[in-house]
């Protein structure tokens, strides 16, 4: 067993986990934060993307123990109360989802992507940056539209939240 403590969506949490417990399982099964999804189990699909110390990572490819001491943000931590994060709002506005299973990972990847490109994004860059996120519905067109819209909205509104 390993003792872990971390800050998840602004809340300090701690507990005992098995050494093999993946971060995504700690989030889902220990903390009840089931917004983070497990899509492929082979580290390819990106449905499990969360932010660890401000960077997008695949939470299915990191042990919970590795994340001990870190600050984590999951999809549940993006909205400000009832106000959706600009990326969430853009996905809703542009219908950037079909079945919705990949959406949490897409949105966490998108917020990270927008943070890393303060100069703005174009379609080619967004598509290249989505390399690690798979949408089995193949709904990429509206996902790309949503990310471009969010990037613009956040640049205008100065709301480039370092989520």
């Amino acid at each position: 067993m390993a003792s872990v403590s971390m800050t998840v969506n602004g809340r300090a949490v701690s507990g005992e986990v098995e050494g093999r417990t993946l971060l995504v399982h700690y989030l889902r099964e220990h903390l009840g934060l089931t917004g983070t999804h497990v899509g492929c189990d082979t580290s390819q699909c990106g449905a499990c993307v969360v932010h660890v110390d401000g960077k997008a990572v695949k939470s299915c490819t990191m042990l919970a123990a590795q994340a001990s001491g870190s600050t984590i943000v999951t999809i549940e931590g993006l909205a400000d109360g009832a106000d959706l994060h600009p990326v969430q709002a853009a996905f809703k506005e542009n219908h950037g989802l079909q079945c919705g299973f990949c959406t949490p990972g897409m949105i966490m990847a998108a917020t990270d992507m927008i943070r890393r490109h303060p100069e703005g994004l174009d379609e080619k860059t967004v598509r290249a940056e989505l390399e690690g996120n798979i949408c089995r519905c193949t709904g990429y067109h509206n996902i790309v539209k949503a990310i471009l819209a969010a990037s613009e909205a956040m640049a205008k509104g100065g709301k480039a939240k370092a989520a």
Partner: protein
């Protein structure tokens, strides 16, 4: 995943002292953890190297580049200091895996794993880098010894890589459409009139230098100098993705593109 005990190392010496029996070092974990999830590896203990300050960081002094083993692909890709002297390495790092993988995966982990389709081994071999460990310094030419095999001894830890930035360098790969690993990748270097070209993703025994490419480019460092070159298919991999003959042709095509990138 099978049961495993997690240990966090605070220094290189601490990590080495914890390495016993079937223990494995864990860097970014971008290969080891998926492998453990598939139950293809079952270390009893993993020793986390990611919290060791002395393994982090990039230092560029003149043309001498030193990269700590714990430096992530994203950090190399974004390094203005490396970009100023060897932009080809930043280009290579920015095309490993995907953004999330680049946030975790490290240069030390990549070369210690020596996946035959990984990108960094080609750069290390072509740049004639020196791999520093907690015990010694190993020239890249002696470090990569076969498929997933290196000169590292039991318990030895890669601490840094060092190379002298060459006059020109370029890297191009033909990524597998699914995994994005290199089906063939070529890193070319021109330095003081001498040429080195290392090939990843193609060799049956891992990364290697292509004599044919190097000889052709030594006369004239131009893509057109490779037009008449035939790369032998002997010793190249054949698998469901590509035959040895196809890969032999890819070596030539990727080398031409790499030269174009080095000159561009």
């Amino acid at each position: 995943m099978y049961s495993v005990n997690y240990h966090r190392a605070t220094s290189v010496a601490d990590a080495a002292s914890k390495a016993k029996g079937e223990a494995k070092y864990l860097a970014g974990g971008m290969t080891l953890i998926p492998t453990m999830k598939q139950r293809l590896a079952q270390p009893g203990d993993v020793i986390d190297l990611m919290h060791i300050g002395e393994l982090k960081g990039i230092k560029v002094e003149g043309k001498v580049v030193t990269i700590g083993a714990g430096t992530t692909h994203a950090e190399v890709a974004a390094s203005a200091a490396i970009k100023a002297v060897c932009p080809a390495l930043c280009h290579l790092a920015s095309h490993i895996g995907d953004p999330h993988v680049r946030h975790r995966g490290t240069i030390g982990g990549s070369i210690a794993n020596n996946d035959p389709a990984a990108d960094y081994p080609a750069a290390m071999l072509a740049l004639d880098a020196t791999i520093a460990t907690n015990k010694r310094k190993i020239p890249a030419g002696d470090f990569f010894t076969g498929l997933f095999e290196t000169a590292l001894e039991e318990g030895e830890i890669v601490t840094a890589v060092t190379f002298v930035a060459p006059d020109k360098a370029g890297y191009e790969k033909f990524p597998n459409p699914a995994s994005r690993y290199a089906m063939t990748g070529v890193f070319v270097v021109l330095d003081g009139g001498s040429v080195r070209a290392a090939v990843t993703g193609a060799g049956e025994t891992g990364v290697f230098r292509s004599v044919e490419i190097e000889n052709a480019l030594a006369g004239k460092f131009e893509a057109s100098a490779l037009d008449a070159v035939t790369v032998p298919a002997d010793g190249l991999m054949s698998d469901m993705h590509a035959s040895a003959d196809y890969r032999a042709n890819l070596v030539k095509v990727m080398a031409k593109r790499a030269v174009g990138r080095a000159k561009g």
